[in-house]
Amino acid sequence: MSLKYVTPAKVFKRYLPKDYVELVDYGPFGKTQEEAGPQNMGQFKELVEEHPMCSGCWMAYYIRLIFASLPCPEETVTLGTAGCGRLAISQAAVPFIYGNYGDQNAMASGLTRAFRLRFPDKTKDVITIAGDGGTMDIGFSMTMHSWIRGEKFTTIMLDNEVYGNTGGQESGMSPKGAVLKMAPLGKKGEKMPATDLAIAAGCVYVVRMSPTNIKKAAQIIRRAIFVAREVGPTFIHAYTSCNIEYSIPTEEVFADAKEKEKGRFAFYEYMTDASKEVIERVEGEEKAAKKALKAARAEAN
């Protein structure tokens, strides 16, 4: 049903909020990445416009990037849990399910299977977007088991290495030695090896990154979604700093993300052969379509 699903009846249009009507009339639903992708963030009608996150929040930037990169926003459902990220995700013009603490991957398991049951001939993308606490701590069992069962959806972990929303407590993804609330003498254990765990649990496409390069980050998000549709569970472990709890001045947030790229968030991409085939096919098709469009435009001119 896609765009039709959000399109209001003409008679109701004048009573709906302006931003909703504009989203339907000029938004990214039903458009290609060329027309509405992250390269147009800021000038195109995006899926996340305003958000209540802190000034300089790197997570908010990455969440906008996720929504701008969706291959098919009109057929996408997102799921999340408690945490800062939820505040922005729940404002997006894409259905969002907020369940209980850390259960996003269990909910996504039921949702994805039920979608495939009801719509065997349609593509409906399911994406869980949650923080390091929700994905690797309280939701660890449900995250791992969804991967082990081979559930076909994408898990995106917004790793700010701390519980930002509850006031800065240590998480399993905090680096060893970090002095944080509930770790007054510094964190004792190591940062959890999330990408290793994902691969061991059967994820077929895994990326760890600090998303400083918009184009590359968008490509990774799309790859993860395309592969999840056909092959199996995919996982993106993205650094999305908490500039408040780690006292990163707003103007240095980007520099911090660049710095992290040199260390524990050095770009890492893993894919199975089957995943590689999907990526090559899809990106090949996109390239060909782009070329054809360019040629058609040249001919028209």
């Binding site: 909020p17 729940s90 969002f96 399910i97 209980n100 979608f115 495939r116 009801r118 719509f119 056909e230």
Partner: protein, 396 residues
């Protein structure tokens, strides 16, 4: 997205409404366990998806549901990671607009309770089997319905089955009740583990070629989040971060709506199950009021009393939520004593009955057994004799 290979049904089904299924369809008598009765109801309920996680004494139910999935009666079935994952997956699948079933017991119910408690607020129209057992510790797996006390304040509709026949009928009816537009909250069907789940009884069942008509997610009062069903369920102005005032206002209004939905389920309990209570000998001075297996023992006590020419009645409570306050008040308006036998230590039913009637002092709290013990009829008889001012020589 590719289709998933699923077992194909070996027979063509005839889809009918619940009134026909429960009240008109010819039935044949079978001698089966309570676990079988619940699974047979799931078979006829045309369930789309069941999610399983083992815990004794529930496991038998979900084993059997797995078997009927393999036979093609369900479209999807899997074993989840634990109870919280199970109940969360049910909540996720509900958003896609499918008919859902799962079951649990005792500690499993408590482990999944966070998600279950959110089902009504999420408007999850699922049926939950609760095959009761003790809550640890010390470890035991025996029957005891104390976990129902924890479930009572979640918002779900709660039915309590006395025997295998009730388990079958209530489970079937639960699917119709949960999907009603003016209800659309989960319905639980509880019965005592082992006493019912692992024991055989006579169950009158309609043909398995009959099935409850398909779940219509488009008719749901809360649209599925399938990007197909308008109005779009998107939120561009989430209340919680905009204003705490809006957040608690919306939440409090929603809680009221959930409990109103719960009350609205009552008319369907009448429609499908004949009402929330059953009254035997309505003119009695002394009533035994009980639910579940305790009602079966109460029924025996009433029969013994009748044989002994004692004017004793029985009120069997089928619905724990919505609690039949008006019906109980009407039934006991002339009663002098109400005896409430229970299979739990805290006496949640006697507390409910006491709170429901204006003269709570006439309630005898007990007898109670717990931890897996059986409830001897003689214990109830002793209370009956005491209530009538007679001596009773208790021999157990």
């Amino acid at each position: 997205m590719s289709a998933i290979e699923r077992p194909q049904p070996n027979k063509t089904k005839t889809f009918v409404d619940m009134d026909y299924l429960l009240h008109e369809a010819p039935r044949e008598q079978h001698f089966i366990t309570g676990a079988q009765a619940m699974a047979e109801a799931v078979k006829r309920a045309n369930v789309d998806m069941a999610i399983a996680y083992p815990i004794t004494p529930q496991s038998e139910v979900m084993h059997l549901v797995g078997d009927i999935y393999a036979q093609g009666h369900l479209k999807e079935y899997y074993r989840a990671e634990e109870e919280l994952g199970t109940m969360s997956a049910i909540a996720g699948a509900a958003r896609a607009g499918v008919r859902l079933f799962t079951a649990t017991s005792g500690p499993g119910l408590l482990r999944g309770l966070e998600a279950i408690a959110s089902w009504p607020g999420h408007r999850v129209p699922a049926v939950l089997g609760v095959l009761t057992r003790v809550v640890n510790a010390p470890l035991s797996i025996q029957p005891d319905n104390i976990e129902m006390a924890y479930l009572m304040h979640c918002g779900a509709v709660m039915l309590h089955a006395e025997n295998q026949q009730d388990t079958f009928d209530m489970t079937l009816a639960a699917f119709a009740i949960t999907e009603k537009v003016d209800v659309y909250i989960p319905v639980s069907v509880s019965t005592e583990g082992f006493f019912v789940t692992h024991a055989k009884g006579y169950v009158d069942m309609m043909s398995e070629d009959l099935a409850y008509k398909d779940f219509d997610s488009v008719a749901a009062p809360v649209p599925a989040m399938d990007n197909e069903t308008p109005p779009a369920r998107i939120q561009r102005d989430a209340p919680v971060q905009k204003s705490n005032f809006m957040s608690y206002l919306i939440h409090s209004v929603w809680q009221q709506e959930i409990w109103d939905s719960n009350r609205r389920a009552m008319k369907y309990i009448y429609q499908y199950l004949g009402g929330p209570i059953e009254v035997v000998n309505p003119d009695a001075d002394v009533f035994v009021i009980a639910s579940g297996c305790a009602a079966a023992q109460g029924r025996e006590a009433q029969r013994y009393a009748e044989e002994e020419n004692l004017n004793v009645g029985l009120i069997k409570v089928r619905a724990i939520r919505p609690f039949p306050i008006d019906e109980i008040n009407a039934a006991v308006k002339n009663a002098k004593t109400l005896i409430v036998p229970e299979h739990n230590i805290i006496g949640w039913l006697s507390k409910e009955v006491k709170a429901a009637i204006p003269n709570g002092g006439i309630v005898v709290e007990g007898p109670r057994v717990y931890g897996g013990m059986t409830l001897p009829v003689e214990l109830i008889m002793k209370e009956i004799y005491t209530a009538l001012g007679l001596e009773y020589d208790l021999k157990l």
